[in-house]
Amino acid sequence: MERVASPDLYQVDLERFRGPLDLLLHLIRNQDIDIFDIPIARITAQFLAAIDRADHLELERAGEFLEMAATLVRIKAQMLFPRRVEGGEEEDPRAELVRRLLEYEHFREAARLLEDAERDRSRRWQRGYVEVRPAPASGVPLETTWDEVWEAVLRFAARATEPEPGYRFRGRLVRIEEKIELVLGALRESRRVEFAALVSPWGTRMHAVVSLLACLELAKRSAVLVRQSAPFTPLWVYRRRRGEE
């Protein structure tokens, strides 16, 4: 556990926190600060010091902490120049932050209760093995088509192009918007274009996948028509005029 030596030396490890609100609550609750009267200058200094030390945070997480830092700095400034609202009463610039902190704290507590329930449940086991029984002949016939399976295949492709938070690509990202432009550009020059022709200049699998997704997206927007006469034959992309079926 951390000790408070002086307000500026309040050491915390950012990695432990689920987000900026979690960190703020920790700073407030561990120093027995009245949440309705937060010493904003001190808390801001501690918050900034904490993110300053964490230089290895992933980009997305760092952004979340920086956004809160900006909010704190703004509140600090507003505290120096109180605004009067109608009726002559002073509006506390901290009010919205306090509301968010209390709300978050409530759900953090709810999550803890869920965790307790999960622990209780995980100490009881359902049957580990149940005999596989073939579906009775009288059951509903399966209507799933290969197209649906193929869509599932393409979902893997889509997932591969969408980076997980904190996952960094080496090299440049392949953007679907760029590919859409490329497809539309090619179709301005001719009525139809072979899919392979859209892909070959770049070669990599990722480009091929994103190009295909671009075509599918355009097909969904009814801007193009994608045709293939049989499996393994060339895939053609057709320009589609408005109102054309």
Binding site: E103, Y104, V130
Partner: protein, 184 residues
């Protein structure tokens, strides 16, 4: 065949909870009331015989589960699969969805102060939450709610069974009306 043994066979052969209505369909002589009687009868027997498992009410159905006192033995056993536990961000997100449903991604992110995309996808893939409708307003955002699988995972009988944190700050109820469920 005794009603209680028919009920026992179905509960034993199912990994997930089975509702009284589903059980009643198995036999013409059964109705929900007789199913409940059979369950009560089995409970008395299991208790008396000191069986290692019992009948628990979960997610609107009945489920056979081992009693908690056998956990230390089962935790150590290789061919007994460990019950998966959720991460802290997943639990927080799930808590928000459970208490606020139907709720959109923006509101979840607002409450937690962090992005929710990755966690939401994990929860959907584990079938703990699902899209239950679309909200009003810009882009008609997807709204999420909890599933039956959610109740099973936590061992709740129904959504009313959710534990409630002691102090509910008054501010909490303010915003619920802003999000209007649509398809839910």
């Amino acid at each position: 065949m005794r009603a209680s043994r028919v009920v026992e066979a179905v509960l034993f052969a199912s990994q997930a909870p089975v509702s009284a209505a589903e059980l009643a369909r198995v036999d013409e002589d059964l109705d929900e009331e007789r199913v409940e009687e059979a369950v009560a009868e089995l409970r008395v027997e299991y208790e008396r015989e000191g069986r290692a498992f019992g009948i628990f009410e979960i997610g609107g159905g009945y489920q056979l589960l081992t009693r908690p006192e056998f956990a230390p033995v089962l935790e150590r056993f290789d061919s007994v699969p460990a019950n998966a536990r959720l991460s802290a961000p997943a639990l927080e997100t799930l808590a928000i969805i459970a208490y606020r449903q139907p709720v959109g991604r923006a509101e979840i992110e607002e409450i937690r102060g962090v992005g929710a995309g990755g966690v939401l996808r994990t929860l959907q893939e584990r079938e703990l939450v699902e899209v239950v409708g679309r909200g009003e307003g810009l882009g008609r955002p997807l709204l999420y709610g909890t599933t039956r699988r959610f109740l099973e995972h936590f061992g709740f009988r129904s959504i009313e069974d959710l534990p409630r944190p002691e102090e509910l700050p008054v501010v909490l109820s303010q915003r619920s009306e802003e999000v209007k469920p649509n398809g839910a």
